[in-house]
């Protein structure tokens, strides 16, 4: 099994005719993902290497029956694209767009919750999601993932998600699903959403969690783990050496005062019984040890 997406997931790409949408949409299809359509207003009726393009999400959904959308459009159009996907009948939205204003994110998130409570948004500013061997939506390089489980991965950082996949695959440990929740201040899906799904997924036997400085999502996740999770969790938190008050790239990655430090997050996770590691390689090794002992 896997969480959120599997071999039955059918995907449209909003922005398929743009350079990023085309490159990654086609790569997702080459991986085996059922990419059934694209959406670009004004380009309906054309196709991208055989993938039909529609003018609107609604039209694409009505024609193809797509359940998921991959949004690869520039920041100024991303909020409208997310809402269009939800209104058009998409259930699972992956938005990789980096650089969306925080005000737009907050507004869009709350509109989704209030007007489309059944819709899940992953991202924005995330690498996407991959259930190895089944479905890959987003920008993750599929060849670094290994099908078959038993590890679930959830990460706030894009490139560290790849690093985590790579560390495990290199050592022959497969993954059920790897979710990149993204590093923005208002993520559509958070650690707890993923941990909850992994806890409920019988094929996921252990979870690797990658956090970073800023916010308090890791602390909240730690609390949730302590109360609800019986599967082993390995964690790594990036930014131990980050200076306070400076945004480390991600809009969400900032230490303000004594809040949001890697040290505090690591301590909270360790208190919750999570095995906390000092770097991605160590986290990979710890997970291999846990999986071999299962």
């Amino acid at each position: 099994m896997s969480i959120f997406v599997d071999e039955s997931t059918t995907v449209i790409v909003q922005g398929l005719t743009g350079s990023q949408g085309r490159f990654h949409g086609l790569r997702n299809r080459a991986y085996g993902t059922r990419v059934v359509g694209g959406v670009t207003p004004g380009k309906g009726g054309t196709d991208v290497e055989g993938i039909p393009v529609f003018d609107s999400v609604r039209e694409a959904v009505e024609t193809t029956g797509a359940t998921a959308s991959f949004i690869a459009v520039p920041p100024r159009f991303a909020s409208a694209a997310i809402l269009e996907a939800a209104e058009g009948g998409i259930e699972f939205i992956v938005c990789i767009t980096e650089g969306i204003p925080a005000q737009d994110e907050a507004l869009t998130y709350n509109r989704l919750v209030e007007e489309h409570p059944g819709v899940r948004l992953l991202g924005p500013n995330c690498p996407g999601i991959i259930s190895p061997g089944k479905c890959n939506i987003g920008i993750t390089s599929g060849d670094i993932a290994l099908p078959g489980g038993p590890v679930g991965i959830v990460s706030r950082s894009g490139t560290l998600t790849y690093q985590a996949l790579y560390e495990l695959s290199q050592k022959g440990v497969g993954q059920t699903t790897c979710v990149g929740i993204g590093g923005d201040p208002v993520p559509g899906t958070n650690f707890i959403d993923c941990l909850e799904a992994f806890q409920a997924d019988p094929e996921t036997k252990a979870v690797m969690m990658i956090g970073e400085i800023g916010g308090s999502e890791e602390e909240r996740a730690a609390e949730w783990i302590a109360q609800n999770m019986d599967k082993p969790v390995v964690a790594y938190v990036a930014g131990v050496t980050a200076p306070p008050g400076r945004k480390m790239g991600h809009a969400g990655a900032i230490i303000s005062g004594s809040k949001g430090t890697a040290q505090a997050k690591m301590a909270a996770l360790a208190d919750a019984g999570v095995r906390v590691c000092q770097n991605p390689t160590e986290a990979g090794e710890a997970m291999v040890e846990i999986v071999r002992a299962l």
Binding site: I100, L160, P185, T241, G257
Partner: protein
């Protein structure tokens, strides 16, 4: 982007938030001219992006020209926690009856906006929050609904603002919320928000952080980017569209993605080195961006080795490789470069570099090994 107080007040004024009449001064003469214009007494305030300037002697009251001259002369050039004062804000001094606190920011855990209002202003709000949290009236605001005057009126009453201040404060809070949302602020804070003996409510200070992601719809922000106060390394990087933070170590870092860049800093530190910078070339960086990144790092005299840590996703490793070669052809890179390349198109990328590897341009198979090599080369 954090604004200076004077910029924050200019920004507030755009949204109709009352502030004291004042002006900017870079010299004693300019300070005198502003004082004459706005009328004595005036307050001479250091413009630095760091707290505690009052205690450091950066805020002084002047009742006449001689005092303005003395205070402006003393404050210009003053070092406040490492920030040298180059600019003053001189404003007409207000009589203060009461000091309040007001701010809007994003409540990230709850994904709504958070308004904070307190009748105990003028001091660090963190201190109030720690010692008497009940003195802060918190208001959760659904971004879809926004803040209306009726809610703001209930809020000022709940916070215990004095009766004569309430109606004006409610209007001001609605304006401040509009500034925060439409003005794309991460933080809009007034401390203190004052009530004068004459019954007027206005902002005596302004702390504004703008959301850089929204710059595309705010051409008016250009005027806030006075680059004269910026770290020259950071200015160069920003001009090239790079996400760069200068640090004090000797290993120059280039990575793609904020998480990997942070992790690279951590790993360099763990193996006994120290990073000269944080540099995230972002997602989808092409050869030009990579070349620009190397040039920015190369211009930092503290750098002794350069660690390029790339895990391709949206970024394609072949593009990165081309950028490295482009930079080497364009400029003389003073430090040896250690590369670690994985992910999208890594095979193609490594092939592009294969013929160019030497003792100044090396590759390592893993992040840890590359970190060790870069740290050794920096010694």
């Amino acid at each position: 982007m954090d604004l200076f107080e004077y910029q924050g007040k200019q920004y507030f004024a755009r949204y109709g938030i009352p502030v004291s009449p004042g002006g900017v001064a870079d010299t004693v003469e300019e300070a005198l001219a502003v004082a004459e214009r706005v009328g004595y007494p005036v307050v001479v305030k250091a413009q630095v992006k760091v707290g505690g300037r009052g205690k450091a002697g950066g805020v002084k009251l002047a009742t006449g020209p001689d005092e303005v001259r003395a205070h402006a002369g003393a404050i210009l050039g003053l070092d406040i926690k490492g920030h040298v004062v180059k600019r003053l804000w001189v404003e007409h001094a207000s009589d203060i009856e009461k000091e309040y606190y007001a701010s809007f920011t994003l409540d990230r855990p709850n994904k709504v906006h958070l308004g904070m209002l307190s009748a105990q202003g003028g001091v660090e709000i963190e201190v109030v929050a720690a010692e008497s949290p009940e003195a802060i009236a918190m208001l959760a605001i659904d971004p879809v609904r926004g803040l209306d005057v009726a809610t703001a009126r209930r809020w000022v009453a709940e916070a215990g603002l004095d009766e004569p201040a309430r109606a004006q404060a409610a209007d001001l809070l609605v304006a401040l919320y509009r500034c925060y949302t439409e003005g794309d602020c991460d933080l809009a804070e007034i401390n203190p928000l004052i009530l004068t003996p004459g019954g007027q409510v206005h902002a005596l200070d302004a702390k504004v952080t703008l959301d850089d992601n929204a710059a595309f719809r705010h051409p008016e922000w250009d005027e806030f980017r006075g680059d004269e106060f910026e770290d020259p390394r950071e200015r160069r990087a920003r001009e090239k569209g790079l996400n760069y933070i200068g640090l004090d170590g000797s290993v120059g870092i280039i990575a793609n993605g904020a998480g990997l860049a942070m992790s690279t800093l951590d790993v360099v530190n763990q193996v006994g080195g120290s990073a000269a910078n944080f540099l995230d070339i972002g997602g989808g960086a092409n050869a030009d961006v990579m070349a620009a990144a190397l040039e920015v790092i190369n211009a930092d005299p503290k750098v002794r080795s350069i660690f390029v840590n790339i895990f391709g996703g949206i970024t394609r490793v072949d593009e990165v490789a081309k950028g490295v070669l482009e930079a080497l052809a364009r400029v003389d890179i003073a430090s040896p470069i250690v590369l670690r390349l994985d992910g999208t198109n890594a095979v193609e990328g490594r092939a592009i570099l294969a013929a160019h590897l030497n003792d100044r341009l090396v590759t390592e198979p893993t992040m840890l090994e590359a970190a060790r090599r870069a740290v050794a080369l920096a010694r």
